[in-house]
C-alpha cells in the first residue's frame, strides 16, 4: 500500500523534475502529461475516483492539448523546439530559493504531530453524493465557477484572436 504510494510519488516527482529541466519544449510538455497522469493515479490511490477522472480529462486530455498547441504556435520553425540555455545565475538562484521552500515545508511537515487517524477506514464518496454536495451546500461556488469559466473562455478567445490588425501592421 505504502509502497504503491511511494512508487507513484517518486515517478511523479521525477517526471516533473525532468520536465522542468529539459531543453526541448515538446518533451517537457509530454513529461508533464505523464506527471499529471501520476497525480491522477495518486487520487485513485487515495480513493477519490471522480477527482482522478476529472484530473485525467482536464489535464491529460484538455490542458495538455492547449499546451501543445501553444508550444507549436510560438515556435518560429519546427526545428527550433530547443530552448536557449537559461542563465546559470538564475538557475542557481531558483535552486536556492526552491531548496529553501522545500526545507521549510519539509521542516513544517515533519515537525508537526499529525495524529494518524482512522487510516484503516477508507472514506468513499459516491458521484451521487458529490452531485448533491455541489448542488446543495456549494451551489453558489458552482455558479461562480461557471461564470468564471464563461468569462475566461470569452477572454481567452478575445486575447488570442483580436490582435490581427496590429499584428498585420507589425508584419508589414
Amino acid at each position: 500500500m505504502t509502497l504503491a504510494f511511494l512508487a507513484i510519488a517518486f515517478v511523479t516527482v521525477a517526471a516533473a523534475a525532468v520536465a522542468m529541466a529539459l531543453r526541448n519544449l515538446i518533451h517537457s510538455a509530454l513529461l508533464l502529461v505523464f506527471n499529471w497522469a501520476g497525480i491522477a493515479a495518486f487520487y485513485l490511490w487515495a480513493g477519490a475516483e471522480f477527482v482522478a477522472f476529472s484530473q485525467l480529462m482536464v489535464y491529460v486530455g484538455a490542458v495538455s492539448m492547449v499546451v501543445l498547441f501553444a508550444v507549436l504556435l510560438t515556435q518560429r520553425s519546427p526545428q527550433s523546439f530547443r530552448e536557449q540555455p537559461d542563465s546559470i545565475s538564475r538557475v542557481i538562484g531558483a535552486l536556492l530559493v526552491g531548496g529553501a521552500v522545500l526545507g521549510v515545508l519539509f521542516g513544517a511537515v515533519l515537525s508537526s504531530r499529525l495524529a494518524p487517524s482512522a487510516a484503516t477506514a477508507t472514506p468513499t464518496i459516491s458521484v451521487k453524493e458529490l452531485g448533491s454536495l455541489l448542488m446543495g451546500p456549494h451551489a453558489a461556488a458552482l455558479l461562480i465557477v461557471g461564470v468564471i469559466l464563461t468569462v475566461t473562455l470569452i477572454g481567452a478567445v478575445i486575447i488570442a484572436s483580436t490582435d490581427h490588425a496590429e499584428s498585420g501592421k507589425d508584419e508589414s
Binding site: 538564475r90 538562484g93 531558483a94 530559493v97 526552491g98 529553501a100 521552500v101 521549510v104 515545508l105 521542516g107 513544517a108 515537525s111
Partner: protein, 671 residues
C-alpha cells in the same frame, strides 16, 4: 417814396442776398458778383432814403414791427425792426458810403484772384451793419453785431496767406469778442430783469419808461443801479467794437486788410456800431442820471473812456509812419470823441460826428488807397513824397478830408461836428477834464494830419514807387470826389444856426446859447496845430526816406514809445497773453497729470491688487498643491523602481517571503 417799417428788413436782406450770390459765383464771375453787390447796395440806398422820408414825417415816433422768432416756455423770443430818424440816417449813410466804397473796390481789387469772394464778404459786412441799424431787439442787434465781427474777421484776413493778416484778423475777432462777452452778459441781465429784449414794444420795451424805472430802482453789487451795471456791460461791447481804450489794439492792426475794407471798417460800419449801440440804448444808459446819489453813472465811465481814447489815439498817431496806421489812430481818436460826446450827454452830437466822420474818414481811406494803388502798395510816408503833382484829384480830395478831420473852420463838416462835441463837453457839469482832453486832441489831430499831408504829397518823390505814381482810374476817383463833396456839405446840416440834424434826431433838442467863445478857442487851436505841423514838417521837407523825423531827433525816447504804440500790445502779451498761456498750461497739466494721474493711480491700484492675488494664487495656493504633487510624483518614481517588470524576480520574492513567513511562524509559533 415811403418805406413802411414792415419792409425795413429789405435793407439788410438785399446785401445779404448779394452776399449769397457772391458766395456761389465762381471765381471768373467778377462782373456778376460786383454787379449784384453794387446793385443790391444801390437798391438798399434807395430804400434807406425811402425809410428816411417815412421817418422824417414824425421824428419823435419809433415805428416798430415785432414778430415772434420762436416760442420759449409760456412766452416767446421776439425780434423786430425799428424805424426812427437815427436808424434812417445811419442807413442812408452806411448804404451811401458803402456804395461808394464798393464802386471804388471794383477798381482797387481788380487784379485780385478772389475778387468774387471779396465782394461777397463786403456785402455780408454791409448787410450785418444794416441789421444792427434796423434792429428793434437787443438780441437781433447782437446777432448782427457778431456777424459784423465775422465779416470783419474775414475781410481783415482777406489776404490770409500773409501771416500778419491772419494774425490781425484773429486779433480783431478775439479783442472785440472780449467786449462782446460784456455785451452778452448785459443783454442776459437785461433780459432777465425785464423779460424782454425789444427796444420799443408798445410800452413794454426795455427803452420805455416802465422798464427803465424798474431797472433804476433796483440796485446790485456796490450799490450800483441795475441799469448802470447793464449799461456798463453793454458799453464793454461798444468799446470793443469801436476800438476804445483799452480794447483799441485791434484797430490799427486791422490795416492788414485791403484798403476799401479799412475804409468800410473805420468809417461806415464796424467802429460806428459801438457808437450807434450806445446811442440806441441811450435811454438806458442815461437812466441812472435820475438818481443823483448813485455811486457811479454809466455815462461818466463812457465819457472818461472816450476822453482817454481821444487823447491816446491822437498822441500815438503823431509818431506813426504808415499812412494807413496814422488814419487808423485818428479813427481811434475820433471814436473817442464820439464816446466823449455820448458820455457828456449829447448823443446827437456823437451821431453828428459819426456821420461826418464816416464821410471824411471814408474819403481819407479811399484816397490813401488811391495813393497806395498808385504807388504800387507803398504805405510808408517816408518813402512817398511829391505826390501832389501826379495825383491831382487824389491830393485835392485827400486835402479836403484832412481839413475836415482837422476841423478847419466853417467850410468843412468836421469842424461843426467837433464843435458840437466840444460844446457839449464844456457844458458837462461833472468834470471839465474830458473837455480839456478834447482840446488837446484837437491840436494833435491838426498837427499829425498836416504832417501826413506834408510828408506824403509835398517835396520830391523819395522812392521809385512814388516816382512812377500815376492817377487812379475814374472808377476810383469819382467816389473820392463824391465823398469830398459830402465831407464839405454835410456839416451844414447841423450848425448851431440851423440844427436840423439835432432836431431831427432828438425833437427835444434845444441848443444852448453862448458858444461863440468856445468856437474861437477851437479855431485858434486848429490853427496852432496846423501851423506847428507845417512849421515842423512843411517848411523843411524831408529829402531822403532814411532821414530822421524832426521830432524823433529832438526826443527820440518819446517818439520811439509812441511809434511802438505805447507798448499796449506788449503789455497785453505780457499780462493777458501770459495769463492765458498759463491757464491753458495749467488746465492741460491738470488734465494730464492730476486727473489722468488719479485715474492711472486707480488703474494702477487695480493692477497691483490683481498682481498680488495672482502671485498669491500662483505661489501660495497653487504652489502648495504643486509641491505636494511633485512630492507624490517623485515618491512614486522612487517606488516604481521596484516595478522591474521581471516576473521571475517577483515570483522569487514571493517565495522568499513565504519562507520567511513560515520560519517566523515556526520559530515564534512555539511560544
Amino acid at each position: 417814396m415811403n418805406l413802411s417799417v414792415q419792409y425795413l428788413w429789405l435793407i439788410p436782406a438785399l446785401p445779404l442776398l448779394a452776399a449769397g450770390i457772391g458766395a456761389l459765383t465762381p471765381r471768373s464771375g467778377k462782373a456778376i458778383a460786383a454787379g449784384a453787390t453794387i446793385g443790391a447796395m444801390g437798391l438798399a440806398f434807395v430804400l434807406s432814403c425811402g425809410a428816411l422820408v417815412t421817418a422824417l414825417k414824425d421824428p419823435a415816433a419809433h415805428l416798430v414791427a415785432n414778430f415772434t422768432w420762436f416760442e420759449l416756455g409760456h412766452s416767446a423770443v421776439r425780434l423786430g425792426w425799428l424805424l426812427d430818424p437815427l436808424t434812417a440816417l445811419m442807413c442812408v449813410m452806411v448804404t451811401f458810403v458803402g456804395l461808394l466804397i464798393f464802386i471804388f473796390s471794383t477798381g482797387y481789387m481788380h487784379e485780385d484772384a478772389n475778387f468774387t469772394r471779396f465782394f461777397c464778404f463786403l456785402s455780408l459786412f454791409a448787410a450785418a451793419m444794416l441789421g444792427i441799424l434796423i434792429a428793434n431787439s437787443l438780441l437781433l442787434l447782437f446777432i448782427s453785431w457778431e456777424l459784423v465781427g465775422l465779416a470783419s474777421y474775414l475781410l481783415i484776413g482777406f489776404w490770409f496767406h500773409k501771416p500778419a493778416a491772419a494774425a490781425a484778423a484773429k486779433k480783431a475777432f478775439i479783442t472785440t469778442r472780449i467786449g462782446d462777452l460784456g455785451f452778452l452778459l448785459g443783454m442776459l441781465w437785461l433780459s432777465d430783469a425785464t423779460g424782454s429784449l425789444l427796444f420799443y414794444d408798445a410800452g413794454k420795451g426795455v427803452l420805455e419808461t416802465s422798464a427803465l424805472t424798474a431797472l433804476v430802482t433796483q440796485t446790485t453789487v456796490g450799490g450800483l443801479a441795475v441799469s448802470t451795471a447793464i449799461g456798463l456791460l453793454l458799453f464793454c461791447g461798444a468799446a470793443g467794437k469801436s476800438g476804445q481804450f483799452p480794447l483799441h489794439v485791434w484797430l490799427p492792426d486791422a490795416m492788414e486788410g485791403p484798403t476799401p475794407v479799412s475804409a468800410l471798417i473805420h468809417a461806415a460800419t464796424m467802429v460806428a456800431a459801438g457808437v450807434f449801440l450806445i446811442a440806441r440804448v441811450y435811454p438806458l444808459m442815461s437812466a441812472d442820471q435820475a438818481i443823483a446819489t448813485a455811486p457811479l453813472h454809466a455815462l461818466s465811465v463812457v465819457a472818461a473812456i472816450g476822453a482817454i481814447t481821444a487823447l491816446l489815439g491822437a498822441v500815438i498817431a503823431v509818431a506813426q509812419n504808415d499812412i494807413k496806421r496814422i488814419l487808423a489812430f485818428s479813427t481811434v481818436s475820433q471814436l473817442g470823441y464820439m464816446m466823449l460826446a455820448l458820455g457828456v450827454g449829447s448823443w446827437v452830437a456823437a451821431i453828428f460826428h459819426l456821420l461826418t466822420h464816416a464821410f471824411f474818414k471814408a474819403l481819407l481811406f479811399l484816397a490813401a488807397g488811391s495813393v497806395i494803388h498808385a504807388a504800387h502798395h507803398e504805405q510808408d510816408i517816408r518813402q512817398l513824397g511829391g505826390l501832389k503833382g501826379p495825383l491831382k484829384v487824389t491830393f485835392a480830395t485827400f486835402a479836403i478830408g484832412m481839413m475836415a478831420l482837422a476841423g478847419v473852420p466853417f467850410v468843412f463838416s468836421g469842424f461843426w461836428s467837433k464843435e458840437a462835441i466840444l460844446h457839449a463837453a464844456h457844458g458837462w457839469n461833472v468834470s471839465h477834464l474830458p473837455f480839456y482832453a478834447g482840446l488837446v486832441a484837437v491840436v494833435l489831430t491838426a498837427f499829425y494830419m498836416t504832417r501826413l499831408v506834408a510828408e506824403a504829397f509835398f517835396g520830391q518823390a523819395r522812392s521809385p514807387a512814388s516816382e512812377h505814381a500815376h492817377e487812379s482810374p475814374a472808377v476810383m476817383t469819382v467816389p473820392l470826389v463824391l465823398l469830398a463833396i459830402c465831407a464839405v456839405l454835410l456839416g451844414f446840416l447841423g450848425t448851431p444856426y440851423w440844427p436840423w440834424l439835432q432836431h431831427t434826431l432828438d425833437p427835444k433838442f434845444h441848443s444852448e446859447p453862448g458858444g461863440g467863445g468856445l468856437m474861437v478857442t477851437s479855431i485858434v487851436l486848429v490853427a496852432l496845430g496846423i501851423g506847428s505841423g507845417w512849421a515842423v514838417y512843411g517848411r523843411r521837407l524831408r529829402a531822403k526816406a532814411s532821414a530822421p523825423d524832426p521830432i524823433e531827433a529832438k526826443v527820440p525816447d518819446l517818439f520811439a514809445a509812441l511809434a511802438a504804440r505805447l507798448g499796449f500790445d506788449e503789455l497785453y502779451a505780457a499780462t493777458v497773453g501770459r495769463l492765458n498761456t498759463f491757464l491753458a498750461d495749467a488746465a492741460d497739466v491738470f488734465d494730464r497729470y492730476i486727473w489722468d494721474g488719479a485715474v492711472r493711480l486707480l488703474a494702477g491700484l487695480g493692477q497691483f491688487t490683481g498682481n498680488v492675488t495672482r502671485e498669491t494664487d500662483e505661489n501660495l495656493v497653487n504652489g502648495g498643491f504643486d509641491a505636494t504633487s511633485e512630492q507624490l510624483k517623485s515618491t512614486a518614481k522612487t517606488y516604481s523602481r521596484a516595478q522591474t517588470g521581471d516576473t521571475h524576480g517577483y515570483l522569487m520574492l514571493v517565495a522568499l517571503g513565504f519562507v520567511l513567513l513560515v520560519l517566523a511562524v515556526m520559530l515564534g509559533g512555539t511560544r
